[in-house]
Symmetry: C2
Subunit: 313 residues, 2 copies
């Protein structure tokens, strides 16, 4: 291993915050040489974690929690309180915020110091906003890899927060051990910004802000969700609270998730290659128009484009 | 156009049932030469439909209805009654049954004569089971194309039935104008076989068998679903009953669906090409194992496989 990367690895496993920050930056880089360094670093961290995780009865030493919810649900306040509770009981907490919108809007998240004033200065916490550019696939990959680095740096609780833009919640649901949906005490009728299907991928639905004047409203919302959740199948067999920390189950779930992610990366890249192919690009809009106008079937249009692409193979 | 195909086209648009049946068989064929004939036929039918549809104020002359539901919901009986009602009021009804399981199980659908005794002998109805082999993608493509042929043969109502195996309901939801979920009067707690997320893609949920002793149970189930559906966003802007048959909306929805299908076909084929690549096939299981064991990240495994695949390009 190159010396700079070796030094970064050593700093990381010795829980040096600056080394962790630099490692995440390295993983986020799109520079080809840096990506090679990043992959080398990640491979070493994975090797290190294998030994560490083997020491745990659960098969993994960390726990990954996804937190999502519509604007106004109180995510920042919740994570601030929850994070402080965890660090107060001896845990080390890393918060990764996924915000794919930030590349176009300049970021919808406020500065961490404003959002989580106490947690952001806690020596046992580490907060990192998402990279500010790239596709959801790219952001998701970076977040997955940043979580591995945080685990290497000894953080035992990884909170992955999503601001609920695009499909980011669904991506986050597939990279955590427990996905928690935070909602304000507003009923389904009133509520805006809850995405179709998101209730179904949640392991836990928390009605936030349910005190004081809002207690009654919160109880009604709880009843509504309880009823709605009857229509949702059990997400994983391990979702019986008693079993969740038993040996092997969590490890198995993570293995499945990693396979899902490997195929997602391949998918995304293959379609990118297809779309960027010169012959495809040249003919795409004409064929899309022909499909719209009912001149060719979608199947035939697909065949024609694929034929043009595959001629080169 | 070759003479046999020209004859088929002529028979089809003259509403000859045998020509329609033979045309669908042609479309289902995997023989390369027959596929070419099929595409030629489909292109002609599309051309013919453009003229026909232009005569309709709605932009399309037919209406496509998807019917899905768990076993025991009463789909066959419902379609029999509904179909007879339609033919009794002057409509011509085609029923296409999607059953991707039939390739492995020998078919989970009974013969049409047993399932729908009256509709199967009605001269204004046409019932066709799905092809008995192929992937969901293949079956879906055949069903889309069979629907076009039925429209060419003058059927103004196309019912696409799915037996609820695998992801077939979701595929059907994307090829119809209205997707109807049929459920028996059993509450969410008791009900088996309703798929996660299926309620959300339904335009209409019908509680079937809600008479006699079951009336009370049916009312309770209706209330449960009404409550659950509050958490579901409006699927399309045109889902306001008043607007559904207004000019252009339905046409626009179909155009969007056709683009979705074009990209799905490309997707499926690209991934097939990737998986069947010799170098990929040779290295896949080893890399999947390395991912499982935490030796490489999913991202790196994807990169390695893609690099091997792309070397040939």
């Amino acid at each position: 291993m190159e010396q700079a990367t070796a030094k970064l690895f050593e700093g990381l496993v010795n829980q040096d915050r600056a080394s962790l920050a630099r490692s995440i930056t390295l993983v986020e880089s799109s520079n080809l040489q840096k990506r090679h360094q990043a992959q080398l670093l990640l491979t070493c961290v994975l090797q290190y974690l294998k030994t560490e995780n083997a020491k745990s009865a659960r098969g993994v030493k960390s726990f990954r929690i996804g937190i999502s919810g519509p604007p106004g649900a109180g995510k920042s306040t919740f994570i601030e309180k929850f994070g402080k509770f965890l660090t107060g009981t001896g845990h080390r907490v890393a918060v990764l915020a996924v915000d794919p919108s930030s590349s176009t809007t300049g970021g919808s998240l406020l500065a961490d110091k404003t959002r989580m004033p106490k947690l952001s200065v806690d020596p046992n916490a580490f907060i990192r906003p998402s990279p500010s550019s790239g596709t959801l696939g790219g952001v998701a990959r970076n977040t997955c890899e940043a979580a591995v680095l945080c685990e290497g740096a000894g953080f035992d609780t990884i909170v992955i927060e999503t601001v609920g833009v695009g499909q980011s919640e669904f991506a986050v649901a597939d990279m955590v051990d427990l996905f928690c949906l935070l909602i304000p005490p507003a009923s389904g009728d009133e509520m805006q910004g809850i995405k179709r299907g998101i209730v179904e991928v949640a392991d836990l639905v928390v009605v936030n802000k349910s005190d004081g004047d809002l207690e009654g409203a919160a109880r009604r919302v709880q009843a509504e969700y309880t009823s709605a959740l009857k229509f949702v199948k059990q997400r994983t067999p391990l979702w019986k609270p008693k079993a969740i920390s038993q040996g092997g189950d969590l490890k198995k779930k993570r293995e499945q998730q990693m396979h899902v992610w490997m195929w997602r990366h391949i998918h995304e890249r293959m379609m990118e290659i297809f779309r960027k192919d010169q012959t495809v690009a040249k003919n795409l809009s004409e064929l899309e128009n022909m499909v719209s106008q009912g001149i060719v079937t979608p199947g035939l249009a697909a065949d024609i484009l694929l034929e043009k692409f595959l001629k080169k193979l």
